[in-house]
């Protein structure tokens, strides 16, 4: 079976009922997308399928042959972050960080179709994603900053490793 992930065609071996999540994590080695609940309740496994946010822990791989699949590893450019990712750094959103790939995928999908989301729009788009560290306020702030084009230009040198300083924060 062939699937297209982040613009690349991969040949995989899996029973067609295997959720896309596990194929991507185990066979493609893309572990940025997470397993949280297995029943489409928490959104940790969110990917884009033909641009639409989908919970992939219940999405059979057999159903996505031929589709364009995007994971957290595929939303930024070669050397730059997606503005949503940059906004997440600026607002210091992640704590444990485990849910954040899914949160970011939901936010990117929202902003792709709605460049000025209201609070209700954000509630509708983001309430499928659970954050046990409770960073909902910061997520909301980050989404609004992207909408208002308040995200700083990303400097990869300043942010690319754990060991360097990412510069002064935008919300002290």
């Amino acid at each position: 079976m062939e699937i297209t992930v982040n613009g690349k065609v991969h040949t995989i071996e899996a029973e067609s009922d295997t959720p896309l999540l596990w194929v991507v994590r185990e066979q493609l080695g893309l572990t940025g997308t997470k397993f949280g609940c297995g029943i489409a309740q928490c959104g940790a496994c969110m990917m884009h399928v033909n641009g639409k946010p989908m919970k992939t822990c219940v999405l059979p791989v057999g159903a996505v042959a031929g589709a364009e699949i995007t994971t957290i590893e595929g939303i930024g450019g070669q050397d730059e972050l997606h503005p949503v990712q940059q906004a997440w750094i600026d607002a210091q959103v992640p704590q444990c960080g485990y849910c954040q790939s899914g949160q970011i995928m939901s936010a990117v999908a929202l902003l792709a179709t709605n460049d000025d989301p209201s609070d209700d729009d954000i509630n509708r788009a983001m309430s499928g994603n659970v954050c046990r560290c409770g960073m909902y306020g910061r997520i909301r702030t980050a989404i609004k900053r992207v909408a208002e084009n308040q995200v700083a230009i990303y400097d990869p040198k300043a942010n690319d490793t754990q060991s360097s300083n990412a510069g002064e924060m935008k919300n002290g």
Binding site: G36, A44, E168
Partner: protein
């Protein structure tokens, strides 16, 4: 606990007075072989246990705490870098490996030895969190909100200051000038004419005797502490590159998932695995004493095959236990303990009996909280490889060194033959201080001779947690003619830690507070803020009820009884001010207030709710925190936000109930969470009182439940005495008051 004498840790080769308590010499010239691997190139030199300065003048801080989102690794790095006087850009950190040499000495000193700057009552905290750690030498735990207030204050700052003093002394010697004529700044040492990087003096400094009491900076000298530095772990958490335990990988790895006995304490009687083994891709079925695991070429295959197992569990006496029976047991045990004089006193002040005998009125109330699961976003998992007498584990742990020793004991290995590789934790909250999943993985790998990654289903995670206990707490207050409480009596079940959790700061002369043992078969675990999570709700609810009984404003009623605690008053007053406490709200709206001291920090919270047709909307939470000093103000704010949401989810929805000896709830559909659409606005204010530095990870949690239920009372007249709120029908208007 082992005896740690001051003499003992100095002879062990302490750098900086406190950086080492473990009895492994790691000062320069007495370098432990296990540390040498962290001095990776010739130009580097290990100045002391906590900091490394290389030939390029780059500073690496070795942080003995793991990261679960609390930001401790960044805050601790700030503390050391500031005292060392290096620029933030020069500093990076590595997490300490799970080796005895790195065990949490400063935590041990700060708490176990009852350092005078730590309130005596908090000494028990660590004992509680460490209760599964058999040997006090095996402490590398992240818990008790201890990172900054113990490791940071007693380890990082001292280590940074000591390193700087040694570098200055070495420079003075080399240049033949008095130390007092030198200055250290931005990683450079200067005598006015010469200006050399620290790296120049690193080798010479290593020859010196470290100072035992290096001089620490005063707050006005801080350059990095007190600034909101961006968290060092965040960039990797927005692009999918952060490695959590579940992401670990080794060649030849297979996957497993597991079903443990649904009734805690039961064992496997028999298993028919023929159907499971017939599933394509299944490698093996492994029977443990109390669980059965399926090993396969993918998690999905293992999960499908697990459902095909036909397992019979041994019947145990707990098979008939349910939540109703547990609370009946609590009720009976409290009554008989009171009757028989078996209450274990937390405090007996004044003469409660006399006060009750002469009371104008007695108010009696009782409150209940249910069991709670941690529900970390990342389900429990571990990768294990047991091969030819050695065991290697890859997992996320709050206590990697404890894991090493507990896993070794569980599989009958010497600890030296067990290696634990620690990863980011997708939530910890106390849950990841328990090595149960890692032990299972090790046992499975041992049986099949292959590296195996064990991943629990969400259902397994919810049903095999170590739970915040269910607790019943009974109160009586004696009131005088004016309605003032003159005696406070409280009896509750299931005491853990911190010992002071049920105590109140309010001036009530006669107090009688004590616990009653009432054991159940449900496993106990430290859950964010531990005993404070329930006692905050109990005491601040009862206090609110007494205010209502006295016809007083709940805020003013508290303030009036805090005159001996100006720090408490200041926190509470600022919360009321910022929340516009005295401005009226509309119909169906209400505000509630609560104050709780925990883990060395004071937190006041005001909740604003709107109740419409029985639905509670939590509109706003105002938080004021005095943690002594906020090393990273934004980090403290983030922890308050997180602590509030964690406690709010529990207060509104959290309930693990027991039927037939087992947990009923299984996944997020039956154990619901606050989400974006129901999350309140949180407004946090920080007071830097410069009193003893406190924790941040936990103190935001205890106050939210009582502030919420006090607000619901103000809005509806319905007093919530049993959590969670969701079990109440609040669709009633104009309820004026209520009674037990």
């Amino acid at each position: 606990m082992g005896k740690w004498t001051r003499r003992g840790f100095i002879t062990a080769g302490v750098v900086g007075g406190t950086a080492l308590v473990i009895g492994v010499g790691i000062r320069p010239g007495n370098r432990n072989s296990k540390l040498e691997q962290y001095v990776t190139s010739d130009g580097e030199h290990l100045v002391n246990a906590w900091v490394k300065i290389d030939a390029q003048n780059q500073v690496t801080v070795i942080v003995p705490h793991s990261e679960m989102g609390q930001g401790a690794q960044t805050a601790l790095t700030q503390m050391l870098a500031d005292e060392l006087d290096v620029d933030w850009e020069m500093v990076s950190f590595i997490e300490a490996p799970a080796e005895d040499a790195y065990a949490n000495g400063p935590v041990g000193k700060g708490f176990v030895l009852g350092d005078t700057k730590i309130p005596k009552a908090l000494v028990g905290t660590v004992d509680g969190l460490f209760q599964t750690v058999a040997n006090s030498m095996h402490l590398q735990i992240t818990g008790g909100s201890a990172s900054v207030r113990a490791t940071g204050v007693y380890g990082m700052r001292v280590a940074g200051a000591a390193a700087k003093e040694m570098l200055l002394a070495a420079a003075a010697k080399q240049w033949g000038v008095p130390v007092a004529s030198l200055t250290a700044k931005s990683g450079m040492i200067s005598d006015g004419s010469r200006n050399e990087p620290y790296a120049t003096f690193v080798v010479a400094a290593g020859e010196l005797q470290p100072p035992y009491t290096p001089k620490l900076k005063t707050a006005d000298e801080f350059t990095i502490m007190g600034k909101s530095k961006p968290r060092l772990d965040i960039p990797s958490k927005v692009d999918g590159t952060a490695m959590f335990g579940i992401d670990a990988k080794v060649d030849g790895m297979v996957y497993a998932t597991i079903a443990a006995a649904p009734v805690f304490g039961a064992t496997v009687k028999s298993v028919d695995d023929s159907k499971a083994r017939a599933v394509k891709g299944v490698v093996d079925v492994v029977k443990l004493d109390d669980a059965v695991a399926v090993v396969a070429n993918s998690y999905w295959t293992a999960k499908k095959a697990l459902a095909e197992l036909d397992i019979e569990w041994q019947n145990v006496s707990q098979d008939v236990v349910d939540s109703k029976g547990i609370f009946e047991q609590f009720q009976n045990d409290i009554e008989s303990a009171v009757a028989n004089g078996d209450v274990k006193a937390d405090i007996n002040a004044g003469d409660s009996d006399a006060a009750f005998a002469s009371a104008t009125r007695v108010v009696e109330r009782q409150y209940k909280v249910p069991y709670l699961a941690h529900a970390c976003m990342e389900p429990m998992n571990a990768l294990a490889l047991v091969d030819e007498g050695s065991c290697e584990i890859w997992t996320g742990s709050q206590n990697p060194l404890g894991f090493k020793h507990q896993i070794a004991e569980a599989i009958g290995f010497e600890a030296d033959n067990v290696k634990v590789n620690n990863f980011f934790m997708g939530g910890g909250f106390g849950r990841r201080s328990r090595p149960d999943a890692a032990i299972q993985a090790a046992k499975i790998s041992m049986q099949i001779g292959m590296p195996v990654k064990l991943i629990w289903s969400r259902e397994e995670d919810t049903q095999h947690d170590f739970y915040r206990p269910a607790v019943l707490s009974k109160f009586r207050a004696a009131l005088d003619e004016a309605g003032n409480p003159v005696a406070w009596e409280n009896h509750y079940v299931d005491k853990h830690e911190p010992a002071e959790a049920p105590l109140i700061p309010y001036a009530i002369n006669n107090q009688s507070i004590g616990s009653v043992d009432s054991p159940t078969h449900i496993p106990f675990g430290a859950w964010r803020s531990v005993d404070h999570s329930q006692h905050g709700f109990f005491t601040e609810s009862f206090m609110d009820e007494l205010a209502i009984e006295a016809g007083a404003d709940p805020y003013q009623f508290r303030m009036d009884r805090l005159k001996a605690h100006p720090r408490h008053q200041k926190v509470l007053a600022l919360a009321a001010e910022k929340a516009n406490w005295s401005t009226p709200l509309g119909k169906g709206q209400g505000r509630g207030i609560a104050l709780q001291e925990s883990f060395g920090s004071l937190v006041a919270e005001v909740v604003e709710v709107t109740v419409t047709k029985g639905e509670v909307s939590v509109d706003k939470v105002t938080v004021v925190v005095d943690a002594g000093f906020a090393v990273s103000p934004d980090g403290v704010k983030a922890q308050m936000e997180s602590g509030v949401l964690y406690g709010l989810t529990a207060a509104l929805h959290g309930e693990v109930s027991i039927e037939n000896g087992r947990v009923v709830q299984a996944n997020f559909d039956t154990y619901p969470m606050v989400r974006m659409d129901t999350a309140p606005q949180i407004d946090t204010h920080i007071i830097n009182s410069m009193e003893s530095w406190g924790g941040a990870g936990e103190p935001g949690t205890p106050g939210i439940a009582p502030a919420l239920t006090n607000a619901i009372y103000a809005a509806t007249g319905t007093r919530i005495r049993d959590l969670p709120v969701s079990q109440y029908d609040l669709d009633v208007d104009f309820v004026e008051s209520d009674s037990v």
